[in-house]
């Protein structure tokens, strides 16, 4: 039956194939708009380059990030060690590449945790409303009452500094923002006609949320996730700089900056603290540029 219908349509409209190309999906429209935004594209390109450097670090450098060379400590940049060596004689550029792995991983994983909790709870609150909504939103109020860095410092210190605890803390503390966005959108989407149609078709609540409501909130989720990754990278670096984040010898941009606590290093060994700081700055600014571009592309009304 269906096949016949399709055939009929094709017979009626021989240009169906050609027309299809004219109709762009929503994501394609967004992508086209994003392509026009030069700053966002610079941001995206930078992130891709940094991610590639981090992923392919072992193939890009002949050194190992943990190979100690006590004969050549705190050496200035030369032909062998392009960014010099640290206090244990480890190649700094290599550590910078490997540090990128940790920083980007923390950003991605902690944002995923945030999204998982925030989208789930926000979706439930928005869909079921009433008492469930009230309960979840008060919970969100409680969580957003904690001043971020002080409580992150406290919890990480109590649990012990490790990459997992850092990711967990950032994820657990950050969900209310996402939950509020998702809830707000679902509250208004719920009343739309297509949801009435979905109810008439008798599909389950789970399917309604997963297939009909959440995809419609994707736009705002993506924007806040992009900016969230930037914020998470900043938080990780701050915690690691304080010695409460990822513990050495694992390199991250934050704990590499700790070398600048040494006044002599701060004064005379720029290669030990400027590069990791710049790396954080560049990645964060790129993510913010991309986030801004995405927001403009997803909702041109907001473009100002």
């Amino acid at each position: 039956m269906i096949k016949e219908d399709k055939k009929k349509k094709q017979q009626v409209d021989p240009n169906a194939g050609a027309k299809k190309e004219d109709v762009m999906g929503p994501w394609k429209i967004i992508w086209k708009r994003l392509l026009k935004n030069k700053l966002a594209m610079v941001g995206l390109a930078t992130i891709i380059v940094v991610a590639l450097l981090a992923i392919f670090a072992p193939y890009l450098t002949p050194h190992s990030p943990s190979a100690v060379n006590m004969a050549k400590t705190n050496a200035a940049p030369d032909n062998v060690n392009l960014l010099g060596t640290d206090d244990l004689g480890r190649d700094y550029l290599t550590r910078l590449f490997y540090g990128g792995r940790i920083s980007l991983t923390v950003g991605l994983v902690s944002t995923s945790i945030r999204l998982l909790i925030g989208v789930t709870l926000g979706g439930i609150a928005g869909f079921y409303g009433k008492r469930v909504d009230n309960f979840i939103m008060r919970l969100a109020d409680i969580f957003s009452c904690f001043p971020f860095l002080p409580i992150a410092i406290t919890v990480v210190a109590l649990l012990g500094p490790s990459i997992y605890n850092v990711m967990l803390v950032i994820g657990l503390l950050g969900w209310p923002g996402i939950a509020r966005i998702v809830r707000g959108e679902i509250l208004s989407l719920r009343e739309r006609e297509f949801m009435e149609a979905a109810t008439a078709l008798g599909i389950s609540d789970f399917r309604k949320i997963m297939k009909h409501l959440l995809p419609n909130t994707m736009a705002s989720i993506i924007v806040s996730a992009t900016i969230g990754i930037a914020a998470a990278i900043l938080t990780e670096s701050a915690l690691s700089y304080l010695g409460l984040g990822v513990a050495p010898p694992t390199p991250t941009w934050g704990n590499m900056l700790r070398s600048a606590e040494n006044q002599f290093t701060l004064r005379f060994r720029w290669w030990l603290w400027i590069p990791p700081g710049l790396a954080i700055f560049i990645v964060v600014i790129s993510l913010n540029l991309l986030g801004d571009g995405l927001r403009d592309a997803l909702d041109p009304r907001l473009k100002q």
Binding site: P150, T154, L158, A238, L266, I280, Q304
Partner: protein
């Protein structure tokens, strides 16, 4: 209005209870005994250890400890610091003002930078000034504050030797009247600059987009149509309305100010609450840490409440229900 304020106040109570339960739970299940550093003293007898445990109430069930803590807190007693051997409330009061100096000083600086630039950016949208302002704001948001602090310390403190880089005043010297103020001010410049400049970014973006929205409104067109000068239109009619959402942001930025101040206080050895908190983390001084966190949560709640109320106060369009 009065009713609205009272209702908002009542709404804060369950949130505050939730915060206190959550905080207490985190600390209760945290590994390590906060009294461990005292126990390591070889002169302590087991009886004395037992006495200490009882004095701090660590030997009783969790819910009893929680209710004790809560009722004490309501009476203004936040417990005693283990390391500094003083009441937490006294310690917080001592350090609070130095932190406030930094927090409100930097907020003032942020506003001073952000609002004019934001307004000019919006009125001259897509001009070179606008692009420069936008990039400046983005940089302020994206630079790690501690890295920025390091750059400032390196350049103004070490290279040019213009400004002191640590503490709130010169140690060991007691200056006569005008010089002590100058000395303190000189110590404040670098931390204030770092906090103020990094904080200005988001405020500027906010002012700009709020202003852009307002200058497209009909009443602005009306103001122009009746022949008002452009300056009056922008700075009287538009700016007033554009600042309404900025006020809300100020309330919400109160906790961020203190969060941001933590790392800056540590970097500039500023004798405020943030540094005290960091030290209490290192020394596992749980009562002090719990007290500071509870105090900060209270501050956050107050900030949010102030933002809500002032928003409703300034903008009569807000419905109170």
């Amino acid at each position: 209005m009065g009713k609205y304020i009272i209702r908002r106040l009542i709404q804060q109570i369950p949130i505050l209870i939730g915060v206190s339960i959550l905080l207490f739970t985190i600390f209760h299940f945290a590994p390590g005994n906060p009294l461990a550093s005292l126990f390591s003293d070889p002169n302590m007898t087991p009886e004395q250890i037992q006495q200490l445990q009882e004095a701090y109430g660590f030997d009783r069930p969790a819910y009893e400890q929680y209710f004790d803590w809560l009722t004490n807190m309501l009476r203004g007693n936040f417990g005693r610091s283990i390391q500094l051997r003083q009441p937490v409330s006294v310690l917080i009061q001592e350090r609070m003002w130095t932190t406030f100096q930094l927090a409100f000083g930097s907020l003032f600086l942020s506003l001073l930078i952000a609002i004019p630039i934001g307004v000019i950016s919006a009125t001259k949208q897509y001009s070179i000034f606008d692009y420069a302002g936008t990039i400046f704001a983005l940089m302020g948001i994206s630079i790690p504050s501690f890295f920025f602090a390091l750059l400032m310390i390196r350049f103004f403190g070490i290279h040019l030797k213009w400004l002191p880089i640590s503490g709130a005043q010169s140690p060991g010297i007691i200056y006569a009247f005008p010089y002590n103020i100058i000395d303190r001010a000189r110590h404040m410049i670098l931390p204030l600059a770092v906090l103020g400049l990094t904080g200005a970014g988001s405020l500027m973006r906010y002012t700009r987009s709020s202003m852009l929205e307002v200058i497209r409104q009909d009443y602005i067109r009306t103001a122009r149509a009746k022949g008002l000068k452009e300056k009056v239109v922008i700075y009287k009619h538009a700016l007033r309305n554009a600042l309404i959402p900025v006020i809300t942001l100020l309330g919400f930025s109160l906790p961020t100010l203190f969060s941001g101040a933590v790392i800056i206080e540590i970097m500039f050895v500023w004798p405020g609450m943030g540094r005290m908190q960091f030290n209490s983390v290192i020394q596992r001084d749980y009562p002090l840490l719990l007290g500071i966190n509870m105090f900060l949560a209270l501050l956050t709640l107050t900030g949010n409440l102030l933002a809500d109320i002032s928003y409703a106060f300034v903008d009569p369009r807000i419905r109170y229900d």
